[in-house]
Symmetry: C2
Subunit: 218 residues, 2 copies
């Protein structure tokens, strides 16, 4: 594992969210000190990260509009990204209703579930009515969708991933607690909810106090 | 930010999940090479991490039962951890129904929502019927619960966090997309769902391919 580059992407995502927030409040420029302070990292780390983007800092800081544009390109959100959802239980329904994805250019084009009572319904920002999970291979053959979001039971993760991979999906965003195997050319991002809770309980332990301070916002 | 120790806790959580998995399949010992391979890190990193635990590796690898016990202590899950949930929308209901938390000793003792139609109901593993959010200060004054789970709208995050902090909560696990301010002695763990999706879309960009390989599972 080369942790540094994973950490880099993580920081890039956070710079972008911060820049967007500042932009909404009408800010025009931001300094590396301000960004560093917000993210609890060093100003030199900020300058190194952002210099890779080719966005220079003058004595007055970074121009927010230019930084925002470069970060959007880097993050691949300078365009609409279509997604499909597999599993429309409560978690799936919550994801369909979340406005944040929509605001960042992500669209739920279609959703699939094995439960017949859900088929034909829509929720939140979903663009087409929910289809039977058995339609998935046919749908993938006809439509080029880059991202599949998985909100299914642990047992179903690998079988569905195999169908998605056969259907040439490019990326899988997995909310289930077990992590599937994918070929090297498929991007897999696991949302590690349980590990997040374990991190929290680790920090709660008195013995681990030395790790606690300043470690909350990373 | 000292990223290394955040990464350390992350690795500890992953060792534990792997050990538990191996244990369920009846394994008795595991080598640092096997753990390293699974986690895509170096065997020497595994040995360094686990030596801090005081669990030695013989020529036959680590004893899974001993490793499991030490990791549970370190992660604070060698006991029952009570939680309260604020916000019982779809995401909140999904969290209440998730068996993983229960299996790791986390219990949803009580849940709170502003929606009167939810009050008195129960979902999943919730131990007491849902209460009005206005009951929260009184509940906190009477009950010592270490962890609050937040699944509320972004606007409500900071006001609820302020109530929780006044009520001496020790840790906040936040699923909302904005991150509240907490005093230094309160543990805050944000589940960064949107940032996880941005990481995925970053990896989808062809230009970023060099970051992609071997970076999926970190």
């Amino acid at each position: 594992m080369d942790y540094s580059s994973d950490a880099y992407v993580h920081r890039i995502a956070r710079y972008y969210r911060r820049i967007r927030h500042l932009n909404q409040f009408g800010a025009v420029r931001v300094s590396s000190d301000e960004l560093a302070d917000y993210m609890n990292i060093s100003p030199s780390q900020v300058r190194t990260d952002l210099s890779k983007l080719g966005v220079g800092q003058s004595g007055y800081g970074y121009k927010i509009s230019a930084l925002s544009e470069e970060l959007e390109k880097l993050l691949g959100i300078d365009k609409i990204n279509e997604m499909i959802l597999i599993g429309v239980g409560k978690l799936g329904q919550a994801l369909l209703a979340y406005p944040g994805f929509y605001r960042y250019g992500f669209r739920f084009r279609a959703a699939f579930d094995i439960n017949p009572s859900l088929q034909g319904k829509t929720f939140g920002y979903l663009q087409e009515p929910i289809q039977s999970a058995s339609e998935l291979p046919r749908f993938l053959a006809k439509n080029k969708i880059p991202i599949a979001v998985l909100a299914v039971d642990p047992e179903s993760v690998q079988p569905i991933v195999d169908i998605l991979v056969d259907g040439n999906i490019e990326a899988i965003w997995n909310f289930a607690s077990n992590y599937p195997d994918v070929p090297e050319d498929v991007v897999l991002e696991n949302v590690r909810i349980l590990e997040s809770l374990l991190k929290l309980s680790y920090q709660l332990e008195d013995d681990n106090e030395s790790f606690q301070k300043g470690e909350k916002e990373t």
